[in-house]
Symmetry: C2
DNA sequence: ATTACATTTCTAGAATTGTTGAAATGATGA
DNA sequence: TCATCATTTCAACAATTCTAGAAATGTAAT
């Protein structure tokens, strides 16, 4: 019974963790070229790669980023469309709607 | 050791739960007058009030809404400033920044 | 004072999440 | 084929979160 609210909650959940927020920042900073887990790990003080992988796949599952293999490596990029989507959810429900800001 | 990223993660966490997203919607829809837990519960098919209280205080703690007692009742309102704050976080980091949207 | 109503706090159990070592998979070059 | 590097999956445990019954608190009317 997956409705829209469920999906949106999942995206917020992916953003609700400080580690993933760090990853998110790094992804956005490297959105042009994409960035590999190994590079992300380095930038995060050698954060454990299996844990990183766990977070990256969670973020990918909710559509917050996408992965593309290139030889041995996998390049991750943020999915700006999804980011805009949830921004819209917040704005539409709040400041664009009947909300008294 | 509370930094900015911690706070932002907490707000996203408050939005990461379907029940709270439902509450959030109702709050926004009644932002002009405010709304009481009892009313919210009614609108949510008589959702248990103690559980509702738990969610409301969580949301209040992260600054997503505010409460004001008026006699027997407590009126809750969304905090649009906070909503705008996290919207800004998403936009600044993504579509306003170096992100290739 | 007592009653009634609105809301919150306390408590404990069930479910979910985050973490990491170890093993597995995928891709490349020697 | 073998060795190596990049990444993911598996398994198990600790920590956190959600839930709701029961008790407590706050407010007002009688």
């Amino acid at each position: 019974m997956t409705n829209n609210l469920t999906d949106i909650a999942a995206v917020f959940d992916a953003l609700s963790n400080e580690t993933r927020l760090q990853i998110f920042r790094i992804l956005v900073e490297h959105s042009k070229e994409g960035i590999t887990p190994t590079e992300i790990s380095s930038l995060m003080n050698d954060f454990p790669r299996n844990t990183l992988s766990f977070h990256l796949s969670l973020m990918t599952n909710v559509g917050l980023c996408s992965a593309q293999r290139q030889g041995k490596q996998i390049f991750y990029k943020p999915n700006c469309q999804q980011i805009r989507e949830i921004t819209k959810f917040l704005l539409t429900d709040c400041c664009d709607g009947g909300c008294v800001c």
